[in-house]
């Protein structure tokens, strides 16, 4: 018997149909389905939209200028307390809200690249996201995205080889190779079962050359998803995904990968990083940035835990369109900046290390006198993940015009 309180609680969670769909499945059931487990490598790209403040995400506590530039919003030096940075290497520290990622770093499966980003000087979210997803900074007319270009043409590709989680197909995944977008695995279906068969017959026999092929792939994907939809999903290893949109997106990615349906690349995004005001609350573990980081860290850590041994075949790489000003502004926030930080997580990653050349935060070292300068191009990081982890594509193919990448040795 539900108490009124419990009833209300459940009601409000599920209000307006936004509740979690508890459809989980034991790992054994998947194992049965996938009698010939493919050992394909998988790349998961995560975009932090809004320009995350890299300097408060991975804190350069060893750089004295950091504290001078940010008198009220700096994250304190590591001191073992819950409100201070978590020491990574004696110079850099993780934001305390990213504590769930510490074990991954210590296990050597999380690498961090500092002072990385797009060389384009734009401070427009719109342009910078566009450039980062097209993979061609400064070139606006590129129609396809870098993640789509990582796919090699195949005879019979899986209909879900490239998936973007969300309402539309991510810019990074647009292009000539088949890619699907899924808001939710449960929604990828015709809502009326009888009509599904009729539509399939209609399109299957259609002489419409354009619609016929895609429809066939669609119904293949729908069928594939039905087997996934039917089975309940229980994250392995006691992994607990946070309730927000990003946590659920990572859960969908995990569910697809474990269903062994041929996913090669996946894309998820997480917004809310544009912290002009009240970036940091009364304590470093409060405020907008801490809230975003808590979900971000929990989701990535849950994914890591859930995938378990399979992380050997997976690389998760994160990016954000640009960093934020080195100096705090008058509203306990930061404004649009330049270089940022990227994470790469996975079994192939030589983790437990902060990569990149640290330009420092001395005023003469700042980009245009205000932002962290850039010492690594984001294409070096993505290019290294693509060429060393996935197979078949060169950096020049994935990032046209970028012919001399400098790999950092992440893999």
């Amino acid at each position: 018997m539900h108490t009124r309180r419990a009833f209300l609680k459940n009601s409000s969670i599920a209000m307006f149909g936004l509740g979690l769909a508890p459809a989980w499945l034991s790992r054994a059931a998947y194992a049965r389905e996938s009698s010939t487990p493919s050992r394909k490598k998988i790349l998961v790209a995560v975009f932090q939209r809004g320009a995350a403040d890299g300097l408060n995400v991975v804190v350069p506590f060893g750089d004295p200028n950091y504290y001078a530039l940010r008198p009220t919003i700096a994250i304190p030096r590591p001191d073992g307390t819950a409100a201070a940075a978590l020491d990574l290497d004696g110079y850099f520290g993780l934001h305390p809200s990213l504590a769930p990622l510490m074990p991954v770093f210590q296990a050597g499966q999380l690498a961090i690249v500092e002072a990385v980003g797009s060389p384009d000087p734009t401070r427009s979210h719109f342009d910078a996201q566009d450039y980062m997803e097209s993979g061609t900074p400064g070139v606006k007319a590129t129609a396809d995205g870098w993640l789509n270009r990582t796919l090699a043409p195949e005879q019979r590709p899986s209909p879900v080889r490239a998936v973007s989680i969300g309402s539309g197909l991510a810019r990074a995944l647009r292009g000539p190779n088949e890619a699907v977008s899924m808001g939710n695995i449960g929604d990828f279906q015709i809502r009326d079962a009888g009509s599904e068969q009729t539509f399939e017959a209609m399109y299957g026999n259609s002489v419409d050359t354009v619609l016929h092929g895609t429809a066939q792939e669609t119904f293949e994907a729908v069928k594939l998803m039905q087997s996934v939809q039917k089975q309940k999903y229980v994250p392995a290893g006691g992994a607990r995904y946070p309730g927000g949109q990003f946590g659920q997106a990572m859960l969908q990615v995990a569910r697809l990968i474990k269903a062994n349906v041929g996913v090669e690349v996946a894309f998820a995004d997480v917004g809310g990083w544009d912290t002009h005001v009240n970036e940091v609350g009364a304590k470093p573990t409060e405020g907008q940035l801490a809230n975003r980081l808590a979900e971000f860290g929990q989701a990535l850590a849950a994914f890591y835990q859930d995938m378990g041994d399979q992380m050997a075949d997976i690389v998760v790489v994160t990016m954000s369109e640009f960093g934020r000003t080195a100096r705090e502004n008058g509203d306990r926030g930061t404004d649009h900046g330049h270089a940022n930080v990227m994470f790469a997580m996975g079994g192939d990653i030589h983790g437990g290390k902060v990569y990149g050349d640290w330009p420092g935060l001395a005023s003469e070292r700042l980009y245009e006198g205000r932002d962290l300068a850039l010492t690594t191009d984001f294409r070096d990081v993505l290019g290294e993940c693509v060429t060393k982890h996935l197979s078949g594509r060169t950096v020049a193919e994935v990032f046209p015009g970028y012919n001399q990448p400098r790999f950092r040795g992440l893999l």
Binding site: L8, P176, A179, I190, S195
Partner: protein
């Protein structure tokens, strides 16, 4: 260029099909299919009765009228739909005042910006300032228990239950019945991720209130997208609406970039719409001087050498590049990177007066690069001013490459993805001969044998916008509230006014054929036919056999494959859904 290669490679199947019956563009369409073809291409899809009306008027007269929209009396139904959308009738400065962004509210709260003069806007801002703190608490609070407690204080358990699991109508009734005070309390109590669904579930008047309370600029966006849908569905000037969409897309501007959320209303009404059947040069100049475009492609802050200020780095080539590549000559138009830079130099100083206060075009001579320039071989002498930019517009608008590029795009939109070169060449000649008279170019296309050919018939896949609008028109559905429809179109891949890239949406089929979008179309068709799309009212589909129902929606016989598939279906609304989700209905 890459884009065209890409599109071409995706559309290989279509190409092969088109060229294998290579004479299809020379084969004349039978008379009754001509009527349907005209409605498919020059309207947002036939409504019941349209075929008969065209037969009565005669094709020639009807087309001539559509080419002179001012002669066609506008629909009163449309006027009724547009009447409540207040923001459509405001200029940019008024929009900024009446629909302040959260940042502006904060500035006002901090004393950095003045309170608006208008009493209504002033009251709204005061309310927002007072409520900001409360809302921040709700946003930061992830505790479901606490949320449940807050809701319990505002709503009855039955109301919560209905909002949780009721039908859209029931949810709407609950929200509509709330007093304004309760509505404010409820909205403030919810975390942002639940506020969105509340706004979507609300009836139109309440939604407007909620938007004004929570995110005023979104009311501007909602008005614009609703208006675009209403015009497509109800306007009698159908060709003008299609051209408005085509040219807006050609000169695309992204609504969510900074002040462009306030600039689009004016841009569409004054830079695009008046010129779609006028001179290309006028259209080009109107866009070049619009704050919307100047902001979108960053030209407003482009400065000549030695003019760089604290914030601006100097020359910005974005507009110069897109002007040549997208707006005029086309990527293969024969210009060089040097031309891009020179064009950008000519436009230095073309800026916006007080962009944050809704100011208009402003030429800032102090920012202008006074040096000599060479654009496409033409020397523009040193010492010029705003005229340098005008000269560029003269040069590019009369270039044969531009005439060809525009003709090709129009033919791709109205005839086929790969229109016959003969047609494009003819249109190009007319473009040049008429001094870029767009009505003349359209006439040349609509007079052509290629337009009225078997090869053109049903050669185009509808865009999501066209698919949704045509389904509403075919079913004669009554749209009381366009909000859900507009979200639906976004989900199908074509968010209205929200194409981020300056390329605009593609004019070719391949853009619209992907898995999730195709599934989305089928699901939308089923939902619409079953009268389950919120805000849209559909009379129950009349009982009848599958073929009759199909004919009523396609205005022609269904293809054999579609007929065979729906033959055994009994329920009329399911048949209608299947027909609108069929391959036949995705074509125009």
């Amino acid at each position: 260029m890459k884009f065209q290669v890409l599109a071409a490679s995706i559309a290989v199947a279509a190409l092969v099909a088109a060229t294998s019956n290579g004479n299809a563009f020379r084969q004349k369409l039978p008379r009754d299919e001509q009527i349907l073809h005209a409605l498919d291409r020059l309207t947002y899809g036939p409504r019941p009765g349209d075929v008969a009306e065209l037969e009565r008027l005669g094709l020639k007269k009807w087309i001539d009228d559509q080419l002179h929209p001012e002669r066609i009396p506008e629909s009163t139904q449309l006027a009724e739909r547009l009447a409540p959308l207040d923001s459509l009738r405001m200029d940019t400065a008024e929009l900024m005042e009446h629909y302040p962004s959260p940042q502006r509210v904060r500035q006002i709260a901090d004393g950095k910006a003045p309170l608006p003069d208008d009493p209504v806007a002033r009251a709204a801002v005061r309310n927002m300032m007072a409520r900001q703190e409360k809302r921040q608490m709700a946003a930061a609070d992830n505790d479901q228990e606490a949320l449940a407690g807050r809701l319990q204080d505002i709503l009855e358990p039955e109301q919560i239950d209905t909002l949780r699991s009721g039908t859209p109508e029931e949810k709407r009734a609950v929200i509509a019945a709330l007093s304004p005070e309760k509505l404010v309390e409820l909205s403030d109590a919810l975390p942002p991720k639940l506020r969105g669904p509340l706004i979507a579930a609300a009836p139109p008047e309440v939604r407007r209130t909620l938007l004004l309370m929570n995110a005023p600029p979104q009311a501007v966006a909602a008005d614009l997208t609703a208006a675009k849908l209403y015009r497509a569905i109800y306007s009698n000037r159908q060709l003008a609406e299609i051209l408005d969409d085509f040219w807006f897309n050609h000169f695309n501007v992204f609504m969510d970039k900074g002040i462009d959320r306030y600039e689009i209303t004016d841009y569409e009404a004054h830079a695009i719409e008046p010129h779609v059947l006028g001179k290309f040069r006028d259209l080009l100049e109107a866009t070049a001087k619009s704050p919307a475009m100047l902001f979108y492609l960053d030209n407003w802050q482009s400065r000549g050498p030695g003019q760089a200020g604290k914030k601006n780095t100097g020359l910005n080539e974005n507009y110069g590049r897109e002007l040549l590549e997208l707006h005029t000559m086309g990527v293969d138009g024969g210009y060089t990177q040097r031309d891009v830079t020179e064009v950008a130099r000519c436009f230095t100083g073309w800026s916006i007066r007080a962009p944050r206060q809704g100011g208009g075009f402003f030429y800032n001579d102090r920012w202008h690069d006074k040096g000599a320039k060479v654009v496409l071989g033409v020397t523009i002498p040193a010492g010029g001013g705003m005229d340098d930019g005008e000269k560029v517009l003269d040069i590019v608008s009369t270039s044969p490459a531009t005439a060809h590029h525009i003709s090709l795009e129009l033919a791709q939109k109205f005839v086929a993805d790969n229109p016959p070169a003969s047609l494009v060449d003819r249109m190009t000649k007319i473009f040049l001969k008429s001094g870029g008279d767009l009505r003349e170019v359209m006439k040349a296309m609509l007079d052509s044998a290629e337009f009225w050919s078997v090869g053109a018939f049903h050669a185009k896949v509808k865009t999501p916008f066209e698919m949704v609008a045509s389904a509403i028109r075919a079913t004669n559905a009554d749209v009381e509230d366009a909000f859900t429809l507009s979200n639906q179109i976004a989900k199908l891949g074509e968010p209205i006014y929200r194409k981020l890239e300056p390329t605009g949406y593609s004019n070719v089929n391949a853009e619209w054929v992907n898995s999730s979008a195709l599934l989305g179309r089928m699901n939308f068709a089923l939902a619409l036919a079953a009268n389950k799309v919120p805000g849209v009212h559909l009379e129950p589909v009349a009982a009848g056999d599958a073929q009759t129902i199909a004919r009523g929606l396609l205005f022609a016989d269904a293809t054999e494959q579609t007929r065979a598939a729906i033959e055994k279906t009994q329920r009329p609304e399911v048949i209608a859904g299947l027909v609108m989700g069929s391959p036949d209905f995705q074509r125009r």
